[in-house]
């Protein structure tokens, strides 16, 4: 379809600007001609054409409101509409971040209480709401680890990360100047305890562990893992990307974790927005609270205010206070659900994942045959061996059935991985329809593999040439 630039016609406008009620002194006089630009190359369209353009684009996009979106490790649950309506209240949208505290008591109360709710949910002493996304939370958490050892006068160069971890873990660690060492998984998909014991020395600052891990499996040896790390003075970091499996059932703080980042756009139902804005609050145990980013909300009597008076803080990780409007939605969600509702989240997320696992196990090979948590991981090895159909082909064929595919080729330790996370908000009928589609594709792979390999057939475009895109990068339209 045409680009917005191709629809542009000189002289058309949509957004109009009010007449000036103050003197219009020439800019050349006020600013000087050398600092001003000559041309402004932006598209020129009438409002109706803009609306039609973006409506057409919207119709070429798949969201949770369009259909089932079992993208593993991303927790694409339904985003409640009341949260959107609440977050659009003028009181939340229109206030400047430097508004005097007396103007912002509602916002400050919300932030203060949300940090408290998250602390209770995770078994932590306090939370910062500043990080803008999960990976930003990881970075903040690793900075807290760095500060902890700096305060103790210890230099520790390494952080351990299991081979199942998200790519953001090693990248966050590297952005903090630590070395990464990889811990192997054992035959059951958990951490290889012997390998961990071997690697965990006094040069290691800590272990970043996703629990349940990206295989959808709970780390059964968590008690021993925590003991090994703590015995050498290390800190245990929980990547809370998969917290949807745990909320209300167990608490990372009780499991021995010292630090956790949550992804509010996953577990707490704030919409993913095509890749953000997210929010990645970080919770810590009491001994790490002094290192949390500033500013923090404090309460005196009934008044709330900002405080920067935390001399050991790692400092700021972004401007202002966090993705406030996302936090409003997460707060609304927690208050809607309450304790019983939150427990129902994890119970039913785990129920749905195990249901899919059981329904598909005869048709696809399981990576690890155990009770899973919020997601289940299959391998497409059988389809590849029997019919030369790759996991990517299965994923593309799912598009023709009207589903968003699962996460594929991750975790890296599973060949041809298919990682399915249904979330708790999907009905049994939806899960059944998805499973029927997967079973049907397994049959097609046997009987008509070319059909699967040529998928998708029904989408606005067919498979795209990634290699061409990378070899001859065209990231900016240069015509006219």
């Amino acid at each position: 379809m045409e680009l917005i630039f191709e629809k542009s016609r000189p002289g058309r406008t949509a957004g109009t600007i009010p007449a000036s009620d103050v003197p219009e002194t020439p800019l050349e006089t006020l600013i000087g001609p050398d600092l001003l630009r000559d041309a402004l190359n932006l598209p020129e369209l009438a409002e109706v054409d803009i609306v039609r353009h973006y409506t057409r684009l919207a119709r070429r996009n798949f969201g949770v409101d369009v259909g089932f979106y079992p993208l593993g490790s991303c927790t694409m649950k339904y985003n409640p509409k009341v949260n959107e309506r609440v977050a659009a209240l003028d009181g939340f949208t229109d206030l400047h971040p430097y508004a005097p505290e007396a103007f912002a008591q509602g916002n400050l109360q919300l932030l203060y209480e949300l940090a408290g709710y998250l602390s209770e949910i995770c078994g932590m002493a306090d939370f910062t709401l500043q990080p803008a996304a999960g990976a930003h939370g990881e970075l903040t958490g690793v900075m807290i680890i760095k500060k902890h050892f700096e305060r103790k006068g210890q230099r520790r160069a390494t952080i351990l990360i299991p081979d199942t971890a998200h790519g953001t873990n090693p990248a966050s660690v590297a952005l903090c100047g630590f070395q990464v060492m990889t811990v192997r998984s054992d035959a059951e998909g958990g951490i290889d305890i012997r390998h961990l014991r071997e690697l965990m020395t006094r040069d290691v600052a800590g272990l970043m562990l996703t629990n349940p891990n990206t295989l959808g499996l709970f780390e059964r040896n968590i008690e021993e893992v925590a003991a090994i790390v703590h015995r050498k003075g290390g800190l245990l970091y929980c990547d809370g990307a998969n917290a949807n499996a745990l909320v209300g059932v167990t608490r990372p703080g009780d499991l021995g974790f010292d630090i956790i980042q949550l992804n509010l756009h996953k577990t707490f139902s704030t919409p993913h927005g095509c890749g953000g804005p997210g929010s990645g609050p970080v919770g810590v145990k009491r001994h790490l609270v002094p290192f949390l980013p500033v500013p923090r909300v404090v309460k005196r009597g009934k008044r709330y205010r900002w405080s920067e008076d935390f001399p050991h803080s790692i400092g700021r990780v972004r401007a202002f206070y966090g993705n406030f409007n996302v936090l409003v939605k997460a707060y609304t969600y927690i208050r809607s659900l309450g304790a019983a509702g939150i427990r129902r989240v994890s119970e039913n997320a785990v129920l749905n994942a195990n249901y899919i696992k059981e329904r598909l196990r005869g048709h696809y090979q399981l990576a690890y045959d155990r009770v899973c948590m919020h997601e289940c991981v299959f391998t497409g090895e059988r389809q590849l061996q029997e019919s030369g159909v790759h996991t990517t082909d299965i994923a593309k064929r799912l598009l023709d059935y009207g589903f968003h595919p699962p996460t594929i080729y991750f975790p890296l330790i599973v060949r041809e991985a298919i990682m399915i996370e249904p979330t708790e908000t999907e009905s049994k009928e939806t899960l059944d329809q998805f499973c029927e589609a997967m079973i049907s594709i397994a049959r097609e792979a046997r009987e008509n593999p070319e059909l699967v390999r040529s998928a998708p057939l029904t989408t606005p475009v067919r498979r795209l040439d990634d290699v061409l895109a990378a070899r001859k990068p065209d990231v900016c339209w240069t015509l006219c």
């Binding site: 369009v66 993208l71 103007f103 095509c274 202002f320 019983a340 009770v371």
Partner: protein
């Protein structure tokens, strides 16, 4: 209330299919002693009507100002209805990162168009799909400069937003880089001689903003030349992106990175977030810059289409060797910016001019008051710094009248001996400004 559709019968049937007795059995891997034997201590659940009432009362505990005279990194602009309409389409807001290109052409094309608009506005060849905010965009450009050059020193203008400097400081500390500040002179612009003296062979990047924190416009060209002469890179930030409607594109003046806060393009104030980190650069850094990039390509039938590209820069492929750890970014805020720019088109110039006129009007009116003098002589966009008899008292008076006053400069810039930073966008009517001046008389 919750959003689980299962009836007790559904659950029973599903448990039977799985072959377990009850839900508890699914959590058998969690050692019994770690299972929470109680409900979480949270407020009681609320029905939709109750949550609406509760949240409305919380929002009402905030006090919305009659007029906002503060900018300082967050700008109140009019947002055309078409912007909210488009970002409210749930095909956009309930989707995730476009990993499956065939069913994500909508956002992929929108990102490609945004990248093009930003490259044109900033005078660069490549813009990414967004960073978290202006501060982290600047900090990541600094880290990337240091990593690419193998140098470990950053020169940050003291006229860069104080919070941005703190964020750069945090990122620099984590990576073991040293930071030094470049002073500003009587114009409010960078002291070029001081910069020349500070530059050395370890300097990776010179970080500046234009308009800077005081609203003063810098001449980027000579600063880029100074940096380049010592082999360092020039990172040019900006405070309010609408200024790009009239100001010379920093990329055309030699900036290697153009970074800044894009909130002013169609995103509400939102008490500080979510905002939009703009990051753009030259072709030389195309394969190194952080964040998502969308490229044009063709499908099997030769039709034009778009994909996430050059992903070997990114964490999910390169892990610890990645350019950055960024994964989720601010795509929906980016979409708002794209629609905003499409809506304004060439009228962005007129909007920017209106901002300049309003700020100059307010500045001149205040300068006529006894004890009120502009702190700097350099040209300004929509903000300006004034010395005044008592900034705190000035703000108190404005607040009593329901205004949000200016940004008190005394904490961050004690050397100015007291001062106030004021902002006037197109949202400030002449009568608001006259009223503010009257309150301060």
């Amino acid at each position: 209330m919750d959003y689980v559709p299962h009836t007790p019968e559904d659950q029973k049937e599903m448990l039977k299919a799985i072959g377990v007795e009850d839900l508890e059995a699914l959590f058998a891997d969690i050692p019994a002693k770690y299972r929470l034997g109680r409900l979480l201590d949270l407020p009681a659940p609320l029905a939709e009507q109750e949550i609406w009432e509760h949240m409305s009362s919380l929002a009402a505990r905030n006090r919305l100002p009659g007029a906002t005279l503060t900018g300082a990194g967050a700008y109140r602009h009019y947002i055309p209805a078409v912007v909210s309409h488009v970002v409210g389409r749930s095909e956009f807001y309930t989707a995730y990162t476009p990993y499956q290109a065939e069913i994500s052409q909508g956002i992929l094309q929108a990102i490609y168009e945004y990248q093009t608009m930003i490259a044109r506005l900033t005078g660069t060849q490549v813009a990414n799909a967004s960073m978290y905010d202006g501060a982290t965009a600047m900090a990541e450009a600094a880290v990337l400069s240091a990593k690419s050059l193998g140098r470990s020193r950053l020169l940050v203008a003291r006229s860069v937003h104080p919070e941005y400097r703190k964020v750069i400081g945090t990122y620099a500390w984590a990576n073991g880089y040293a930071c030094a500040e470049i002073p500003f002179g009587a114009t409010g612009q960078i002291e070029r001689d001081a910069l020349r003296g500070l530059l050395d062979d370890r300097t990776a990047a010179v970080l500046v903003q234009s308009p800077n924190f005081f609203g003063v416009i810098e001449d980027i060209g000579p600063l880029a030349d100074l940096a380049h002469r010592r082999g360092a890179l020039l990172v040019a930030g900006f405070t309010d992106p609408t200024s790009l409607g009239i100001l010379k594109a920093p990329g055309d003046s030699g900036a290697d990175f153009v970074v800044g806060e894009g909130q002013g393009f169609g995103n509400p104030l939102h008490y500080g977030g979510p905002y939009l980190g703009i990051l753009a650069s030259t072709e030389a850094f195309m394969r190194k810059i952080p964040g998502r990039l969308v490229g044009a390509t063709v499908d099997r039938e030769g039709r034009r289409g778009y994909v996430l590209t050059l992903q070997t820069r990114e964490q999910h492929i390169r892990r610890e060797k990645a350019t950055s750890n960024i994964c989720s970014n601010e795509a929906l805020c980016m979409l708002a910016a794209a629609v905003y720019l499409a809506s304004l088109g060439k009228n962005l110039k007129r909007l920017a001019a209106l901002n300049v006129w309003k700020a100059n009007y307010l500045k001149e009116a205040l300068a006529a008051l006894p004890g009120w003098t502009p702190l700097f002589t350099g040209p300004v966009y929509n903000e300006f710094a004034m010395s005044c008899p008592d900034a705190k008292e000035a703000n108190r008076r404005l607040e009593r009248a329901g205004f949000i006053g200016g940004y008190d400069l005394s904490k961050d810039y004690p050397e100015l001996g007291g001062g106030i930073l004021l902002c006037a966008t197109e949202m400030l009517r002449r009568e608001d400004m006259d009223k503010a001046v009257a309150l301060l008389t």
